[in-house]
Amino acid sequence: MTFAETPRTPVQLRACAKTFADGTRALEPLDLEIAGGETLVFLGPSGCGKTTTLRLVAGLEAPDPGGRVLFDGQDVTPLPIEKREVGMVFQSYALFPNMDVAGNVGYGLRVRRVAEAERAHRVAEVLEMMAIGDLAHRRVDQLSGGQRQRVALARALAVRPRVLLLDEPLTALDAALRERLRVEIDALLRRLGITAIYVTHDQSEAMALGDRIVVMRQGQVAQVGPPREIYFRPANRFVAEFIGTMNLLRGSRRGGRLQLAGGELALTAPGAPGEDLPDAVETEYLFRPEAVEVISPEDASLSGRVASALFLGDRTRLVIEGVTDRPVIAEAAGRREFADGDRVGLALDPRDLLRLPG
């Protein structure tokens, strides 16, 4: 495909809400700007409205009155999906069983009345790009899951859509294949530079693919931002706990130190300009398991007891009790072996401690 021709269509959602006929409020009013060529990932638990949002952009659902969808500044809200020039990849692939692979991939071109010769040429080109050139004349039911996935992508790309929409395209595949195709899709999206919206409930997929991630919860946006920001600066408790593993420390703050059941913790690094936080009887801090360093209890101001240790090869995942009212999960690197009941000390860089508003 001539990559220079790939349109980089910015997409805007203006006050898009969706209430279904049965009264289900699937999406609260949403304003979103998607830059041309950006890959935006919708991430969230089941039923949070990811598919609904994608279908609004596609034109398979109409937003509630007042909502608008714009492609490149043009209002496409009244256009049905067949006029929006989007490419869509469905979770179930939705390949046409009555056509072979080439027939499926060429369908969009046939509908657009592209001449036979030109069509054959473009189909061959796209099949080549997806590395399935040898499957052109296979029947769809003679394909493996991974091959179906590639055909579905090829079919969506063959018409050179303005926007590419993918709804959990990898969910139906096994883990190893999912990983490989994820890398391929990532490379493809970068190379094409097409505006893409990708729906998933798999956070590692979201992290790897997204230029930005929209974390959704019950029809509302919980946070929008680049993967690193979502991971390291979660805007709220929901995002913090939905993405990766988070530990919660609950204790009281006195003189810039956090007092906990298992000892105390400095809230500002020595020498660093600390925020002057008022003392509080009860306060909460969060941190990631990989941020904590497991040291000997004599050297630590904070310690606990190993409740269980799970050897993962490159590291050992520990569940530690007695630090705060909830068990803390920590990851220890290296060869050291842990037995249940061992006392361990915890060291934490205050910069890895997260205090959430509210």
Binding site: L60, E82, E85, Y107, G146, A156
Partner: protein, 292 residues
């Protein structure tokens, strides 16, 4: 494995086989005798009187109009059920609501109601329209009422099994408008159901007696009605020859139906293939195991 069973066949197997053959024979014998009677010169003298096609020709002479009418009604019925049934099946599958479920139930009713009752209802309602009452259109209406649910069910079953809604959304995303989708995606993928439904409708229409017997006039007789008529008023050989003609018409349809449903089942059981590359190491491992 197979060799084992051949060797171990005890008396139980043979007893079962004999019983099965006996039952089959009991059921098939009357049909065979009846057809044989149709080509015997004189049935009461038996086969010794010789074989003849005289009676068959006589049937064609006396009842050729019945035959034509039957085929006409069957084809007309097929046409109408295709025209109404296929789009209706599509709508009922795609738009599911209490209304479509209700319609589905109502349309299915004629399967459960005796044909006589339907015929009486039709006579009560439309019997007054003389021209219509006397035409074969009247019988056609009855047949359509009776066969429509079969077409509907056959097509709906296929549409439901392929998730037609998502397929259509896929086609729409590629730029296909409603009619393009209907002709390039919906119809081709419903083909097996349409074919099965069509065979069913034609077979049922050709063999329908209850309804037709109530609705017919002396000038609009279908084959089964003619059959009853010939049994009642002709010599036994003519009636039997008629049976023979009927069999010759209906058996190919039944065979076609069987074949189709077998093909359908085979196609349905096709599963997605495992991923070659993902599977390869596993396959190799088992191969090594076997060699060892």
């Amino acid at each position: 494995m197979l060799h084992g069973t051949t060797q171990k066949r005890g008396w139980g197997f043979w007893a079962q086989l004999a019983f099965t053959l006996l039952v089959c024979g009991f059921l098939i014998l009357p049909a065979l005798l009846s057809m044989l009677a149709g080509v015997t010169v004189n049935f009461f003298q038996g086969l010794s009187s010789g074989l003849t096609l005289k009676w068959v020709f006589q049937v064609f002479e006396l009842y050729s109009d019945t035959l034509l009418l039957t085929l006409g009604v069957a084809l007309g019925c097929l046409g109408v059920t295709l025209l109404i049934g296929v789009p209706a099946a599509y709508v009922l599958t795609v738009r599911q609501s209490w209304l479509t479920r209700l319609i589905e139930e109502v349309v299915t009713l004629p399967v459960a109601i005796p044909g006589l009752a339907i015929a009486l209802a039709l006579l009560l309602t439309y019997g007054g329209f003389g021209e219509f009452r006397r035409s074969w259109g009247f019988i056609l209406v009855g047949h359509v009422l009776y066969t429509l649910p079969f077409m509907l069910r056959a097509v709906m079953a296929v549409l439901a099994s392929i998730d037609i809604r998502t397929l259509e959304e896929g086609a729409a995303s590629l730029g296909a408008g409603f009619w393009t989708r209907f002709f390039t995606v919906v119809l081709p993928n419903a083909r097996s159901g349409i074919l099965a439904g069509s065979l069913m409708v034609v077979t049922l229409s050709i063999g329908e007696f209850n309804l037709t017997w109530m609705l017919h006039t002396p000038l609009t007789k279908t084959l089964p009605v003619g059959l009853a008529d010939s049994y009642a008023s002709m010599r036994l050989e003519v009636g039997s020859a008629f049976t023979l003609v009927f069999f010759v018409m209906i058996v190919p349809l039944l065979v076609a139906m069987q074949t189709l449903s077998r093909l359908e089942r085979r196609a349905r059981s096709a599963r997605p293939l495992a991923d070659d590359r993902a599977q390869a190491p596993a396959v190799k491992a088992t191969a090594v195991e076997t060699v060892r």
